[in-house]
Symmetry: none
Subunit: 216 residues, 4 copies
């Protein structure tokens, strides 16, 4: 828990700087992509000068990493914690984890970062590696361990967890693609929450052990 209340305002300001910069950077990276975002614009939107930005972040790539660490990674951490401290049925846990993902990333500006990585990672290998290590691998492991928990506890059928992980990830990517690539052009109606619910109903039902299993 952060505690800044008993410091003079200018000092709180100083502590706030990085967050203001990260917020500005998130906005612009999502709006324009990585390559097309100019650091000067980030600085201006945060109300500081270009030079100041370099006091907090070594360069553009580090700024981007900080944005990811700020907007995506904590969600993973929380999810890991919630798994560790959960006692109920694995299907319920899976549903909770994915709804949380939707609430905190999919339905949020952070989803733009996921889209950005899909779009531009190829041009920035270091970024791709970073994202792979800190997000993809960790997220995949999270889903896989959740599936394994279900299988171990006999709440899920003993499916191929590698395949099943991808099945669970696919609708997330679909929703992000829809939101950032299709929706801006095509005014078609897609209700993301309903889509996700439907998917979860189908997928989790499909994971249940064959007969007489309790519906979560």
């Amino acid at each position: 828990m952060q505690c800044t209340e008993n410091k003079p305002r200018w000092e709180r300001r100083k502590e706030a700087r990085p967050h203001e910069l990260l917020a500005a950077a998130l906005d612009l990276f999502v709006e324009r992509g990585f390559a097309s975002t100019r650091l000067e614009d980030v600085a201006r939107r945060a109300g500081v000068s270009k030079g100041t930005l370099y006091l907090y972040f070594e360069n553009k790539e580090e700024l981007f990493k900080a944005v990811v660490r700020n907007s995506i990674v904590p969600v993973l951490g929380d999810a890991e914690d919630s798994i560790a401290g959960f006692d109920g049925h694995s299907a319920e846990l899976m549903r909770s984890v994915m709804k949380s993902w939707w609430a905190r990333i999919g339905d949020t500006k952070a989803s733009g970062i996921v889209k950005l990585v899909m779009a531009e990672a190829g041009n920035f290998p270091e970024l791709a590696q970073f994202y792979q290590d800190e997000v993809v691998t960790r997220g995949t492991r999270l889903i896989r361990s959740l599936l394994e928990r279900g299988i171990e506890r006999a709440e899920f059928r003993p499916v191929d967890v590698v395949q099943a992980t991808q099945v669970m990830v696919a609708p997330m990517l679909t929703l992000i693609t829809w939101k950032h690539s299709v929706a801006p052009c095509d005014r078609g109606e897609l209700n993301p929450a309903a889509f996700l619910d439907t998917f979860l109903d189908m997928a989790l039902y499909g994971l249940l052990p064959a007969a007489g299993a309790a519906r979560p």
Copy 2:
């Protein structure tokens, strides 16, 4: 059948040039995206100099449009023709159209163009407009008219065609996202052909009129 044998070599060359350039441009646009592709590299890959490229294409955007017209648009044209000249069951037609899309775009370098547009259209409004006009609108109309054909001929249930069109498009986007954004990092196994087959089985079955309908 083209007959170029009795022309002087440099004239054959001139006819080949645009195709060599388009091939090189397709490669590089797919590899690096629109903004990050340097025209000099396109020229070099085609074995010519920078200036030569400008003999055939007015500028970078026109080169890109030409690539799209060369790799994507003809597939749409052929699909339209195949619909016009088809007599059988609409489900069969839909299956054929989507398999053809997979064979000629999804499973091809051309799919990289689709991904590129999803990734970068936001930064190049003129390109976005062009793609919307020449590909998206036309492709959507194609799927919709196919659905309408099925409904008119009582081969499909009278579904909401706008929604159903999106349902049919979704797996194509998913496959492309997987191929260009997930697969390069994650060595997870996704069998696109199997995925598409499964989807078609499910979706087309779902479109059939309720009872006693003939299965295509």
Copy 3:
């Protein structure tokens, strides 16, 4: 009086920069013309790098406009003021205005800008429009109003002011042509000041009311 003494050096520098750049640009535009002047050379002559120039001027055309606003326009403003605040004979005023033009433009590097516009305006329509609006129209109005003042006060004959304006402008163009196009090649002697004096003697005498008029 400007007071820059108690500012840090780089801040004084910043104030000086635009003037140094404008001076360098004036030099090179006059030497080489608009199209043939390279911005890199302008920057180098001002002792800065190419990029710095773009901190102060948006592009080549804006730099040129700034040069005109800096070297030509103020002279027009001063002339307008001097007319407004003058009580004497219009012939004297006309003589003063034209001598001032000679001192501040004709006999100055600024005259090169006038020559440049005559030479290149055809190739840069936006520049031509700008010059027409900010210099030609305003200068012509100035001469015309001066003639009208003389006629109203019965110090000049009631001549056709449109024609007379052109008559007054002609020798200015002649001098500039001579200076920039003839003199550099032909070592012929033309004394511009004498030429202008002679012209003014003749023209102003010719403008006086017929009989018994006081000679200014």
Copy 4:
């Protein structure tokens, strides 16, 4: 006198080529200036390919020289001849020479070449030198020798011929400046023929020997 009538058409065509190219070049040089004229446009306007142009002219500068030799120099030659073969009063000769200049250059596209040289010679030293040698020097000598003829024959006062030469040249430059730099912008009325007549009346009258001289 050129005689091409008894040759086959294609051969006449071959001989016509250079003239068609020169005509196209004259048009474009006058319209756009030297630097901004593209050889491809010249070739296209003449109905040939770019390569062909290089069969007849070594490069852009040589093409320009040929244009000058074709449009300006012959007028000088004719004027020299007319002087050599003239018996009458020098004032009449001068008037005839200058009217001829107006008819064949000043009032002609060729005047655009004079303007072009005034505007761009500074950027193309070799061109400047060429024009100086083949036009300026020769033209100046022509006027000077005409003045000297008048003085020798006591038809003119013994004026300073160097100065007087410039006086005679000035209105030619003025007319060209007006035509190419002022008229396109300013819809002011200047009647060039009248201007020239008036000038000649004044200047030639001023050159006559003091008393009792015959008016030409």
